[in-house]
Chain length 417, copies 2
């Protein structure tokens, strides 16, 4: 194989473990310098490719690359920037190919969710139609866990663990206070249209904690919800509610609706928790507390799932291994072999089957009343939150790495994004 450079970019919302994928990818590439010359990272994702703002990861020490495994967020910067269709904006795709050509890039690694898988697929198609040889490989990443084919997505297990741990702790708190004070605790979690993250709250039934979950997949039925909450307060003295940001009314309006949208045209959510808390207060009169964990949940590397970190690393490594095998337009996946004991292997999916497909919670993962999870869901989730993988601490705080991120000299004219 002729020696080519690689391009790697992080895309969309970052996670506690996306850097672990970067770590797996770069460390593996460094072992094959005869085939993969340099690994260039896009500063702020694909924007870095369009503007020729490339980072030479070769300038980072082995120790700093290894530290990525323990560092949350996107070490090279990410972005919310969706390339339009090939027809609508061929200019951008052609620019990408020009950049790749100028920097002798033969491998395109894109680390992101559904939208990024679509971009990655388009780039692989374009390289064919322009006869520029490029292997485009997608590395899955999304806390929303909504990519198809792969059993789970790196980033999700750690958020699930954060949500389960936090809900457990806050429930212990409310239980202590319930006699004379707070009886209701509402935690709002992310996940957009998929209830995977909210489902993690359901793992607390093993701990005899009354948790009512509001899934995006289940239309909000206020009367039924209030009856469920009240029944819990009667039985346990308190009730915890985990509400997904994507929870919505029968007319489709989000409980959290703020009226703004992000670059991908998705509604920007946040604020369902106070809405739900007030609904309970008004109908049942119970004193409440609520929390919106927002970015805290997805950046909480301090309580990341060891399973998740390991898989993120393995998928980064697998992406390079697929490249070395000559694969194109693919994504390494997690293939679950068994729940107990948990066994999985690294598989591979064609990007055409991944792009723009959202995986929702299966119907049989949600309990009949719509407010909890089934045993099947529990068996699915439990392996994903297993194990702790603590970062090192210095002076009371986790020692997260900030890379040097040294730019590669530009070769082309400027380009307006």
């Amino acid at each position: 194989m002729a020696k080519k450079n690689a391009f790697y970019a992080q895309s969309g919302g970052v996670t506690a473990v996306i850097n672990a994928s970067a770590c797996g990818l770069i460390e593996t590439a460094r072992k094959h310098k005869d085939i993969i010359g340099k690994v260039y990272a896009g500063r702020n994702g694909i924007i870095g490719a369009l503007t020729e703002d490339l980072i030479d990861t070769g300038k980072e020490s082995d120790a700093d690359i290894a530290a990525l495994r323990y560092t949350p967020s996107g070490a090279f910067g990410s972005c919310r920037y969706k390339l339009k269709s090939l027809e609508a904006n061929k200019r951008e795709y052609e620019r990408l190919i020009a950049i790749f050509k100028a920097h002798n890039i033969g491998y395109f690694f894109y680390n992101g969710g559904g939208d990024s898988a679509d971009t990655c697929f388009k780039i692989s198609q374009l390289s064919e139609s322009l006869s520029y040889p490029l292997q485009a490989i997608h590395v899955p990443k999304t806390i929303d866990n909504d990519l198809p084919i792969t059993d789970c997505c790196p980033g999700f297990g750690s958020v699930a663990k954060y949500v389960a741990v936090s809900t457990l702790e806050a429930s212990f708190d409310v239980k202590s206070m319930a006699k004379t004070s707070t009886k209701i605790f509402v935690l709002e979690v992310m996940g957009r249209h998929a209830g995977w993250i909210a489902a993690a709250g359901g793992l607390l039934v093993d701990h005899d904690i009354p948790v009512v979950i509001l899934f995006p997949e289940v239309v909000f039925d206020q009367k039924k919800f209030l009856a469920k909450v009240d029944a819990n307060v009667m039985k346990f003295g308190y009730c915890t509610v985990v509400v997904s940001e994507g929870c919505h009314y029968p007319d489709g309006k989000f409980l959290a609706e703020q009226g703004t949208t992000d670059a991908f045209g998705h509604a920007q959510l946040g604020g369902a928790a106070p809405v739900v808390a007030n609904i309970i207060k008004e109908a049942l009169g119970y004193k409440f507390h609520w929390a919106v964990s927002d970015y805290l949940q997805r950046s909480a590397r301090h309580i990341a799932s060891k399973t998740d970190v390991k898989q993120a690393y393995q998928l980064g490594r697998a992406a390079v291994e697929l490249a070395l095998k000559g694969s194109n337009a693919v994504m390494p996946t997690i293939q679950r072999l068994s729940d107990v004991p948990y066994k999985y292997r690294i598989g591979v999916a064609d990007l055409k089957d991944v792009a723009n497909v959202e995986k929702f919670m299966p119907k049989d993962f949600i309990s009949r009343d719509g407010f909890g999870i089934t045993e099947k869901c529990r068996r699915y989730l439990l392996p994903l939150i297993q194990g702790e993988d603590y970062p090192k601490y210095v002076d009371g705080l986790p020692q997260y790495v900030t890379l040097k991120n040294i730019a590669v000299p530009k070769k082309l004219a400027a380009f307006k994004v």
Copy 2:
């Protein structure tokens, strides 16, 4: 000394380490069974004493009592219930003495904040005036860190660590996204009228992270605040804001005001973060995310400060040691001897000097512009977040103990609270 039983109760908002104090107290009492017979705990705090709902902690195994050290929340239940003045409600105080007499209780241990110190002091006075011999000892506990005399309060160090770690992680996240998306992250924290918890965000200057703190001690100056945030975005590309729930406008109105009050007559706060985020959005146009960590911050035993856990345990132990020495109307304290290396010893304060005194942030702990902390504050805070003290995990979740909490048979007629 004649053998007497002890009464222990948890009061007010619970913390990640109040059970560590209970652990220190009960384990130490168990070593002196010749003097302290039984340790009875009030179910749901002082309410349990008034209603003769006592828990026999002697029915708990040594292992379960030891596990309290790793379990957040109040294992016996807490309450927000402030006894009125002796003049206004002598009936309740007399009931307490009747309960203590009926159960041969000679030691009253009250584990709480400023209001509880006041109750504890009143009870010690009453026991004198009623000639019922009782040693009343207060064990400090409050995440707000606002008790006088003691250098710090158990519960605070762990919240400070949670806030510093969470703000660090979320700031890494925002930094990754800032190029095309979120530039502002706002985290709301507790602390009521004292900015101690918010101050923990200031420890991130060591990590070159732009954090603007809104203290309750500094009147909110919108214009100056916006200029500071904008300057950070210009310099760093993003800005993190830590806002205390007690932050208020010049007219005294809280940013978070919801119009409700708790049993102690304090305004119930929550919701400053979205207010601050929207102020920034409207004036500067930056995309924001916000989080309200609420109970998560004070129950986060999974990331508790080792220093805090140790001190909570030591103060519980010290309370028993003070009792054995015959002390009354006192509170064991943390006396700091040096910052670097951190050294302290256990001291003792008279309750008359503690009750109803709130300790605010000293002026020289807040930076001149009002949005950060000084080096002096940093030296104060840093030792308190040192060390990790992880709980054991089983099946991906912390193994927190739930006690049996077996009731002591009642001896008196019912009493209406």
